[in-house]
């Protein structure tokens, strides 16, 4: 056990103590605090919490690497994972907030006056959130495992225990405020290395302004070597795949229950609008930086590693070759490492940067704490979504409507612990690669909740039969396309499994509309409630008239 281990451990334990402290201070004293943080989180802090919730361990570690490997085509992830916030903030967030519900399934159940719809929506929420959390917990296990050189499984268990404790204590209120702290940790951990790299390579401390030139230089280097340029469009997939993937990620953002739930914690529709703006600003800080990391790392690898004699590679490459993330071969047997003899894993970009830039043990420990913050914050948001789908939507709304506040709190807490343990168990042996699992969760959200909610909020004619058939058809089409593309090689216009959401969404919209029009319209009361969502809280629509509360 060396200095690095102790420094990293110390920093991480300090941050853990901070999170638990915040959760205890903010422990939920009633169901309103447990599910929606008492409805009073100020927009700036809510936006920061959303930023942490959004940035998962997989993204923190892997996104920069994905962009480096995919080049221009990787930018579909940058636009896809940010542009969705406009869909959410304009079309859904303020209206869902006004409706007064605690969860997405509750909104659906009330909007369509259908217990069946509520149950289906709650089950979909649990499936999507559970799938997504398996990815997070397994990812956090890998992080802890790699950094402390212990088994990833042990790392997963540590993560699971920690989350179960502070999520069960604080509920949504505790989770929101710990996420604010986690955002601060992860943004510092992400920015410090890339700022230093920028200084070292270009002399400019602002990576976002300086890396453009490097992208241009990478293109020149690629041309000299006879490869297609780093920034050349559609090298890795078709233009239609890029567009389909971007749409799936954007619409999925607006359809993921645990993301939508982040807008229930503010007080008004206006606060929801501002929350969305602040959230994207804080998320943007990370997403502006990832392509900079990618460009600088590739530049260093191309100019300082490739082209060198294999016996004289820089010191930092040795440890990474040992972990298997960096592979060096000499297929041309000339003693020199060519660019195409170097194999780089995605994860290396962020994790190796502090070493490449010689930033010292403290920064390396900080990056480890940042990755942990990213993992915990996302997992926390997901577990609350699962807990509320069961404890609020199924237990309280369906099974036992007479339950007292205390009983509801207890069921909520128990559900979090159970869900965490179950997800942790599956995470010990995950069914697929993390990014793949996450991509499927997005595709499912795009094909199910996005069409259901957009039509539910904006089209008063949408009725429960339309909704239910839309949900089921969207789910079916998305799943079928994912399997057909992944295992059968079947594609339309070159769109692969990660773009499947497009087809699910089209099918779901069409089905919902056709079935709604073919069956009885919803009651006047429901249609009035939909129209009511157009106006701010002070205005109420009833029986064809609008009233202003004074």
């Amino acid at each position: 056990m060396n200095t690095q281990f102790f420094v990293s451990m110390a920093i991480i334990l300090a941050t853990f103590a901070l999170y638990i402290g915040i959760a205890v201070f903010n422990r939920a004293k009633g169901t309103s605090e447990f599910y929606v943080a008492g409805r009073g989180v100020p927009p700036v802090w809510n936006g920061m919490a959303i930023g942490a919730d959004w940035m998962s361990a997989a993204s923190f570690i892997g996104m920069a690497g994905t962009i480096m490997v995919l080049g221009y085509d990787g930018l579909a992830y940058i636009m896809g994972w940010t542009g969705g916030y406009l869909l959410l903030t304009f079309l859904l967030a303020p209206q869902l907030r006004k409706s007064g519900s605690y969860t997405v399934p509750e909104f659906i159940g009330d909007r369509f006056k259908s217990k069946t719809a509520l149950i289906i929506a709650a089950i979909c929420t649990m499936i999507i959130s559970f799938t997504y959390s398996i990815g997070q917990l397994s990812g956090s296990g890998v992080v802890i495992g790699r950094l402390f050189e212990i088994d990833a499984k042990l790392g997963t268990i540590i993560g699971v225990v920690l989350i179960a404790i502070y999520a069960a204590f604080g509920g949504m209120k505790g989770i929101t405020w710990t996420q604010v702290a986690q955002y601060l940790v992860l943004i510092i951990a992400y920015l410090v290395p890339v700022i230093f790299m920028s200084l070292q390579i270009t002399g400019n401390p602002l990576p976002w302004l300086s890396y453009g030139e490097i992208v241009g230089k990478l293109g020149e280097l690629d041309r000299e070597l006879g490869f297609s340029e780093y920034f050349a469009p559609f090298e890795k997939g078709s233009k239609w795949q890029f567009l389909a993937l971007m749409f799936t990620l954007m619409a999925g953002t607006a359809g993921l229950p645990h993301v939508i739930a982040r807008f229930y914690t503010v007080s008004t529709m206006k606060a929801a609008r501002w929350s969305g703006a602040w959230a994207l600003l804080f998320i943007g800080l990370l997403y502006f930086s990832a392509p900079a990391y990618a460009a600088f790392s590739r530049f260093i690898l191309m100019t300082q590693v490739a082209g060198s004699k294999i016996a004289e590679l820089p010191a930092w490459t040795k440890t990474w070759v040992d972990t298997g993330l960096l592979q060096v071969a000499d297929t041309s047997a000339d003693g020199i490492l060519q660019w195409n003899e170097l194999i780089i894993a995605n994860d290396i970009v962020v994790m190796a940067t502090p070493e490449i830039a010689n930033l010292g043990v403290f920064v390396i420990g900080l990056v480890a704490a940042g990755a942990m913050a990213a993992a915990l914050s996302t997992a926390g948001g997901l577990l609350i979504a699962i807990s509320s789908a069961f404890a609020h939507d199924i237990y309280y709304r369906i099974l036992k409507p007479t339950a007292t506040d205390k009983q509801r709190l207890n069921v909520g807490r128990i559900t979090i612990v159970v869900a965490t343990l179950l997800a942790g168990l599956v995470a010990l042996n995950p069914p697929g690669a993390i990014t793949q699992i996450v991509a499927w969760a997005f595709a499912l959200a795009t094909g199910t909740f996005f069409p259901a909610l957009v039509l539910g909020v904006w089209w008063k004619r949408s009725n429960s039969k339309g909704l239910i058939s839309g949900l089921l058809v969207g789910l079916g089409v998305t799943l079928v396309y994912i399997f057909a593309a992944k295992y059968g090689g079947f594609t339309i216009l070159g769109i692969i499994d990660t773009g499947a959401g497009v087809f699910g969404a089209i099918a779901a919209f069409a089905t919902n509309i056709i079935v709604s029009l073919a069956t009885k319209p919803p009651s006047q009361e429901i249609q009035d409630a939909v129209i009511n969502l157009r106006y701010p809280e002070q205005m109420t629509y009833k029986d064809g008239e609008v009233y202003l509360e004074e």
Binding site: S32, G83, E106, R273, G284, E537, L548
Partner: protein, 100 residues
């Protein structure tokens, strides 16, 4: 509770929607639009970046953030224009829960 003219409420809704549609058009142009024309745009350079790459990595995201803040500001102004008091909204909002 004071009854107000339905046409006023309709005008409110229309005004909000008009702005929203404008925001969506811009949103679509800077993301899907640029991707559709990526090849010809790659010949232009901006701050060292090929333009299509600049938009994908920074330009679109910057526009998204600006649009969201504009929406928040403008949304507040429209509310004020129609006589909405945000403190009253807060009061109502904090207590709002679906009654079961």
């Amino acid at each position: 509770m004071k009854k107000i003219d339905k046409s006023k409420a309709d005008a409110y809704f229309r005004e909000k929607n008009t702005y929203m549609i404008i925001y969506f058009i811009i949103w679509a142009l800077v993301s899907y639009g640029v991707v559709l024309f990526a090849e010809p745009l790659s010949d232009l350079y901006f701050n060292g970046f090929p333009f299509h790459y600049f938009m994908g990595a920074q330009g679109a995201l910057a526009v998204f953030i600006i649009l969201l803040f504009v929406n928040a500001f403008v949304g507040d102004k429209i509310d004020k224009k129609y006589g909405i008091d945000h403190n009253k909204n807060e009061e109502i909002g904090r207590e709002s829960t679906v009654e079961h």
